[in-house]
Amino acid sequence: MNFTIDLTGFVAVYIFMLAAFAGWVIIGRVPAILHTPLMSGSNFVHGIVVVGGLFALLNASTVTLQAIGFCAVLLGAGNVAGGYAVTVRMLAMFKPSSHEAAPGAVLPLPAKKS
């Protein structure tokens, strides 16, 4: 069995196209009220670059490559941890009017005052 991944030519282009479309559709539904946490959340998601940094560092064979690889992991880890910390903090602040609000309700309108 061979589990190496080979993404060349059109296969790669298809992945890019579908991922871009998915990103567009997923984000298009986010209400404006959540745009800041969304931006920091998507910022956190591209922190996955740290995985690429680790791959580059583990395969480094000279001091120069080790130094650059170290920077890649350092910066990537900062991206991940920072992005996660601020997103969680911001999302924890969004509270509905009453705590009895039905779970799953999307942006309930405030009760009309008579």
């Binding site: 069995m1 589990f3 190496t4 993404l7 992945i15 991922a19 871009a20 997923i26 984000i27 539904r29 209400p31 009220i33 745009h35 800041t36 946490p37 969304l38 959340g41 910022n43 956190f44 591209h46 922190g47 996955i48 670059v49 740290v50 995985v51 690429g52 940094g53 680790l54 791959f55 580059a56 583990l58 395969n59 480094a60 064979s61 120069t64 650059i68 690889g69 920077c71 890649a72 992991v73 990537g76 880890a77 991206n79 991940v80 941890a81 920072g82 996660y84 910390a85 601020v86 969680v88 903090r89 911001m90 999302l91 602040m93 969004f94 509270k95 509905p96 999307v106 942006l107 405030p110």
Partner: protein, 482 residues
């Protein structure tokens, strides 16, 4: 055998991570499910990072002797970079969030650029497609790194003024063309094998230096008010760079996550630009604010100052109030006071709503976060499209620290720099109170006709102090009644 197993585990974990990222982002479409959304994305990230240490079983032969050192370096970099960023993220004030997001984003761009540098210096990138994609990712990542740092410095007010000089756009374009030319030359040399003018490491360094310089040059002339759009663009750029480097490393998790963020960032950028009624290229390549119209449209009427207490009592006896907060509210750190006042009004039976303009604050949605921090429930917060028709039937609009987003000139004054920008229709309510520090102008540097209209009164002073007086006035009223 062990190598096969390594690939199987990493492949499976990355697949799960890619799914969790998209599932997590999807759950961020409602305030109710969003906290669990970022949590599942976090799980995906954690397992992906841990699994990537399994690459140690399948390193190239020349890297074998350094394996333990490299593992140690990797762990140290993770702890140091992750630890510092975690602490800063936990401490940063909500008003400073835009520059923090810019900083973390720049780090991601830098990481993508560094990966490209490892590929190039190590001579691992072979073949024209690989080389071009590596260089493209390096270019975008480097621009995102240096550009985000400039954006951070501007938002943090280390750099105050946009820096502009004659022929700047031509100069910047030239810088970009030189960067691309150096990149093209690198591809040509590696492909043709002909002797280069400089040594290969020198060429690569020159390429990165040019790309980083272009990021700085491109961001310097952009004004502070446009920074939300710029952060959003660099967020998309980093995503794209990560996706491209993911292709170079043949890692589908990076490709998918990077491209999802790239598309998402692009969409957010377009939404922001639309809210400012400007095209993205207009924001990036025209120096907004340099050609402020000296000639004002005829402004009729006069500014009518009023006391904070009088305004407060008028709102207490109104049946509906819409609050329009702007960045001035956050600058005065008056969000808590505002909500305290709003709660007093609510307990007197006044219906209070908050109306948020898409460009209120320094990044999209920042004003929503600042209100949420002060404890305002999200179901009282309304966006422009959802509330704009309600101003007509509202008794009082209370405008705090906002200016251009309620300027009716955007609807009528064709010569105005903000003409065509969607605005909140505060002027259509029966009475408008504007809390403002002084008689200054908005970001766009133009006078606001709303302030002169017959149904508008000005309450001058620091937002926190004025709201303090308003709270006192309403409390005094109810204690007298009791």
């Amino acid at each position: 055998m062990i190598i096969q197993l390594t690939h199987l585990v990493i492949g499976a974990v990355d697949l799960v991570a890619a799914f969790l990222f998209m599932f997590g982002l999807k759950r961020m479409s409602s305030p109710v499910t969003a906290p669990s959304g970022i949590f599942v994305a976090g799980i995906g990230m954690l397992v992906a990072v841990l699994a990537s240490f399994l690459y140690a079983f399948d390193v190239s032969a020349d890297a074998k002797p350094f394996l333990w050192i490299n593992i140690g370096l990797g762990a140290a970099a993770l702890l140091a970079g992750g630890g510092l960023a975690w602490l800063s993220g936990k401490k940063v004030a909500m008003t400073a969030m835009p520059q923090m997001v810019a900083l973390y984003n720049g780090m991601g761009g830098g990481a993508a650029g560094a990966i490209a540098a490892v590929e190039l210096f190590g001579g691992k990138a072979q073949g024209p497609t690989q080389l071009v994609v590596t260089l493209l990712g390096a270019l975008i990542g480097s621009i995102s790194l240096s550009g985000s740092l400039i954006a951070w410095a501007k938002l943090d007010e280390i750099l105050n003024k946009p820096m502009r000089f004659w022929g700047q756009q031509a100069f910047n374009t030239l810088a970009l063309l030189i960067t691309i030319a150096v990149g093209g030359y690198i591809v040509f040399i590696i492909q043709s094998g002909s002797p280069p003018l400089l040594t290969m490491p020198q060429l690569i360094m020159l390429f990165f230096a040019c790309a980083l310089a272009y990021g700085i040059l491109m961001t310097l002339p952009i004004g502070g008010a446009d920074m939300p759009v710029v952060i959003s663009i660099y967020n998309a750029a980093t995503g794209l760079a990560v996706g491209l480097e993911g292709f170079v490393l043949q890692n589908p998790a990076l490709m998918i996550a990077g491209m999802v963020v790239g598309a998402a960032g692009l969409l957010l950028t377009l939404l922001m630009a639309r809210a400012m009624n400007r095209s993205v290229s207009n924001i990036l390549f025209t120096n907004f604010g340099t050609v402020v119209e000296e000639k004002q449209g005829d402004i009729k009427g006069e500014l009518k100052p009023t006391e904070a207490a009088d305004a407060a009592i008028a709102m207490r006896y109104a049946s509906s109030v819409i609050v329009v907060p702007g960045y001035g509210l956050a600058a005065a750190q008056a969000q808590q006071k505002l909500y305290e006042f709003v709660k007093l009004l609510q307990s007197s039976g006044v219906s209070v709503k908050f109306a948020i303009h898409p460009v209120a604050g320094r990044m999209p949605g920042q004003m929503d976060v600042l209100l949420a921090e002060a404890g305002v429930p999200y179901d009282l917060i309304f966006q422009l499209d959802d509330i704009n028709d309600e101003f007509k039937t509202t008794d009082v609009s209370l405008v705090i620290g906002a200016n251009d987003v309620v300027n009716p000139a955007a609807r009528t004054e064709k010569t105005s720099p903000i003409y065509g920008m969607p605005i909140l229709n505060a002027d259509q309510s029966k009475q408008v109170y504007v809390i403002k520090r002084g008689q200054g102008k908005g970001y766009a540097g133009i006078m606001n006709q709303l302030f002169f209209s017959p149904n508008c009164n000005m309450v001058y002073g620091d937002a926190a102090a004025v709201l303090g007086k308003m709270i006192e006035a309403v409390r005094g009223l109810s204690s007298k009644a009791a």
